[in-house]
Symmetry: C2
Subunit: 432 residues, 2 copies
C-alpha cells in the first residue's frame, strides 16, 4: 500500500533531520513539508459531514431514560424513548468497571431529554466538551450508550445499526485473528504458533496477527527474551507459508531504534503490517519509524480524540488507522475517522477488545466503513462478559455466517441480537 499512497500527503513530513541522525539510509528528509492547509483541508471537509442518517426518522425520538445496569464487573446500557422504544448494549468486557460513576456524573446529562436524532451532536458534546474528563475510561461508556441508542434507532427504522450511519459497502468482512495475545508472549514460539495455526484452520482465516516484544509500553532497546521475537517472525512464515497474511503488534514495546531493527526483519519476511511498535502517544517518534520502513504501519488503538486522529492521518503517521470502537467512543466517531482516512487515501480497520459483544459492533461498523482495510480484527465469537459469563443471546436474523475467513454483515434491526431477559435481570441500576 505504501508504494501507491496518494501524493497529497508528502512522505517528507514531520521528522525532519531526525532519521538521518539515526544513521538510516532511507532518509526522505530533503523534501519540503506540505503546508498546514494542504495537509488538513480534505480532512476538515470530511469532518463537517453529518453521520447519523436523520432522514430515516421524520419525528423526534426523545430519550426519556438512560440506565447503567451493573452485575459485579459487567455493565449494560439501556435507553428508552418517550414513545416506549428501547435499546440495549453490553459494555466493554475489561475496563468498564473502573469508571462506572462517569455515566451518571458526566454523561447522562448529554443524552437524557435529548432527541436521539441529534446523536452526532450528543456524542460530540460527551467526548469533546468534557475537557479534563476525556480519555478511554470516559469514551468506553460513551460507546456503550451510543450502541444502545443505535439499537433503539435501528429497531424504530427496521435497519441494522450500521446502516443508520452508512451504506453497506462490505457485505462480507474478511478477518484476521488478533487474539492469543498472552500465549504469543508467554508460551514458546512453536507452541503459541501451533495454537494460532489450529485457530486459522477452524476459522479458515487467511491472516493472523502475532505479538512482538514484551508488550509493556516501556519503549526499551531490548526484547522480552533474546531472539524470541525474531524466532516467532521466522517460524510463523515457515509454518503459515508465503501466501498467508502475517501481521504483528508491538504494543509499545520498543524504542525507535529497536522498532526499526525489528521492522527490517518483518520486511525481510514479507509481513503485511506492523502495529504500534513504540508507545501509542509517541507520535513524533512513530513518524520517524514510519519513514524508515516500507512495511505499512498500523496504529491508533489508544487514541481518544478526533484531533489526534486528524494529526495521525494528515501526517501519515500510520498507513492503517485502528480506532477502537469502545476506546474511541463508538461508531459515529469511528465513521468520522474513516471518512478522514478515505480522504487521505489511507486505510482503516477498527480495533476491538476480546470478549463481550465486540465482534458484533465490529461487524456492524465494518459493513458500512469507507476505506476499510482488507482484513479486520477478530477475536472469536466467544461472547464472555466482564464476569466471564457467556452472554446468552439470539440473533434476530439467523446465526452469523462465516466461511473462508469471512463473516457476513449482521442482519436484523438495531444491533441484530436479542439478549436473554433473565441475564439482563441479574444487572441492577447503578446510580452512584
Amino acid at each position: 500500500m505504501k508504494s501507491n499512497r496518494r501524493n497529497f500527503i508528502a512522505s517528507a513530513a514531520i521528522a525532519g533531520g531526525a532519521v538521518s541522525t539515526l544513521g538510516l539510509s532511507s532518509c526522505k528528509g530533503s523534501a519540503k513539508k506540505p503546508s498546514y492547509e494542504s495537509r488538513y483541508a480534505a480532512l476538515d471537509e470530511a469532518l463537517k459531514q453529518p453521520v447519523l442518517k436523520r432522514k430515516l426518522f421524520p419525528d423526534p425520538i426523545i430519550i426519556e431514560s438512560l440506565e447503567l445496569l451493573v452485575d459485579r464487573n459487567n455493565c449494560l446500557y439501556r435507553v428508552r424513548s418517550k414513545d416506549g422504544a428501547e435499546g440495549i448494549s453490553v459494555g466493554h468486557s475489561i475496563f468498564a468497571a473502573s469508571s462506572y460513576p462517569m455515566v451518571k456524573r458526566i454523561l447522562s446529562g448529554f443524552f437524557v431529554g435529548e432527541d436521539a436524532r441529534d446523536l452526532d451532536q450528543m456524542i460530540f458534546n460527551a467526548t469533546e466538551r468534557t475537557v479534563k474528563r476525556q480519555g478511554i475510561p470516559l469514551n468506553l461508556h460513551v460507546a456503550g450508550i451510543e450502541f444502545a441508542i443505535l439499537d433503539m434507532l435501528g429497531t424504530i427504522a427496521n435497519k441494522p445499526a450500521g446502516e443508520l450511519i452508512g451504506d453497506v459497502i462490505n457485505p462480507e468482512v474478511s478477518i484476521y485473528l488478533g487474539h492469543r495475545l498472552r500465549e504469543l508472549r508467554d508460551l514458546e514460539p512453536e507452541e503459541s504458533l501451533e495454537l494460532m495455526y489450529q485457530d486459522a484452520i477452524k476459522t479458515e482465516a487467511r491472516a493472523v496477527k502475532l505479538r512482538a516484544g514484551r508488550g509493556d509500553n516501556l519503549a526499551t532497546d531490548i526484547d522480552n527474551a533474546p531472539g524470541r521475537t525474531e524466532k516467532l517472525i521466522r517460524l510463523a512464515r515457515e509454518k503459515f507459508g508465503d501466501d498467508f497474511h502475517l501481521m504483528i503488534d508491538g504494543n509499545g514495546s520498543y524504542s525507535v531504534k529497536e522498532a526499526i531493527r525489528i521492522g527490517r526483519i518483518l520486511e525481510e519476511y514479507n509481513y503485511t503490517f506492523y502495529e504500534e511498535p513504540i508507545p501509542w502517544d509517541w507520535y513524533e517518534e512513530q513518524k520517524i519509524v514510519e519513514r524508515a520502513m516500507t512495511i505499512p504501519m498500523a496504529g491508533g488503538e489508544e487514541e481518544f480524540g478526533i484531533h489526534g486522529f486528524r494529526y495521525l492521518i494528515g501526517n501519515e503517521v500510520f498507513q492503517i488507522l485502528q480506532p477502537d470502537l469502545f476506546y474511541f467512543g463508538g461508531m459515529t466517531r469511528t465513521m468520522k475517522v474513516a471518512r478522514m482516512v478515505e480522504a487521505a487515501g489511507l486505510k482503516v480497520t477498527p480495533h476491538i477488545s476480546r470478549g463481550g459483544l465486540g465482534f458484533l459492533y465490529m461487524l456492524h461498523m465494518v459493513a458500512v466503513c469507507p476505506a476499510a482495510y482488507e482484513f479486520h480484527e477478530f477475536k472469536l465469537f466467544e461472547a464472555r462478559d466482564a464476569n466471564g459469563t457467556l452472554i446468552p443471546h439470539d440473533t434476530k436474523a439467523g446465526p452469523f455466517e462465516s466461511g473462508g475467513g469471512k463473516i457476513k454483515a449482521p442482519k436484523g434491526s438495531g444491533l441484530g441480537v436479542v439478549i436473554d431477559p433473565d441475564y439482563i435481570k441479574t444487572h441492577k441500576p447503578y446510580t452512584a
Copy 2:
C-alpha cells in the same frame, strides 16, 4: 522571556510553512529544525534523575494499607505503614467522584505492600504502565495517593512534603490571582474587573489572570460576545495600571486565526502571558500561534503524560509550562517536568484547581521547584471540599503568612496540616 530564551531550541520548529499561509509577517519558517537528538538530549538526562530523596529513609517503609475514604462527592486518601506511620490527603475538589473505583481496581496494587521509598517507581507504574486507563481521571487519584504518602514520609523524616523531593529555593511564593473564572466570563467586564480589583487589594497580589473567549474548548473564530474580550483586556490595563502583571487564559476558546488576533491585542496592552487560547491537544496549531506571538505563551494544564510534556518543552510550544498537580498525578511527576523545563531554559508554574487543599500542595511544590516562574496560581485559601464544606484543619507550624502578594512556604512535617478527626470520620472506606 521570549527574547532571551536559550538558543538550543530554535524558534523555527514544527510548523514549517504554515504560518506564512495564514498571512502573517512574522514567519520564522526558513531556519532548519534542530535534530531530534539535540531537542531532547538534555530533557532525557533530566528525566533519568531520581526524585524522592531516598537517603532520608534508611529503613524500608512498607505500605500496609491504602484507603479511599468517601463522603458523597468528597474523597480522602489514607496510607498506613507496617510500623504505624500514617499520612492523609484531601482529593480533588471537583472531579474525583467520577472515577472513584479506579483507586481499588487499578491503583491499589501498585502501592500496597510496596516500600514507600520506591515512590518514583510506584508513580511511574501507576501512570505510565496503565495504558488504556490513562488520563486526568486516573491521575488525580494517583496525586491524592502520592500526597498521602508524602504526608506519611514527611512525618517520618520530620520535613515538609516538598523537601522530600527538592531543596527550598523559593521560600516565598509570589501569587497571581487565578480565580473568578465564571465571573470574568458571565458578568459585564467592568463588574468582574471590580471584583478582581478588590481581591488584589486584599491579597496585595501584583498579578491577576483574566479569561478570554467563551472558555468552551470549541476553537471558533468568534468571541462570546462581540468585542467583549477586547474590552476586558483594555479596561483591565486602565484599571490595574501599567506596572501590574496581567495574564489571560483562553481555555481553548479560539481557532488559530482568532487566537493570533487576540494575541496581538494582548501584546499591544503589554500582557504578561497568554494561556491556552486553542484546545489543549492542538499541539501543532498551538506552535503556529506561539511562533506568531512575542508574548510568552503558557499551557499544559490538561496534559497527562510525561512524553507529552517532553514534546511541549523540547519544541518550545509554550514558554511557561503549567502541569496541574492533580491532573498530572502529583509532585514527583511535576518535579520531572520542572527539571525538563529547567534544562530547556523555560519556566514552570503548577496549575491547581480552586478548592480543597490545592493551595497547600501548590505551596509545597513551588517552594522546591526549579525554573519556577515569577508568579504562581492562587485561588484563595478557601478550602472547600467537593461537598462545599470548609475543611476543618490546623497548620502544624502556625498560620500561612502572606503579604505583599507573597505566601511563605509551609512549615511543619508532611503536608503541614492536621485535619479534624471528626471531619475525617464522616468519610467511609470505599471498596467498590
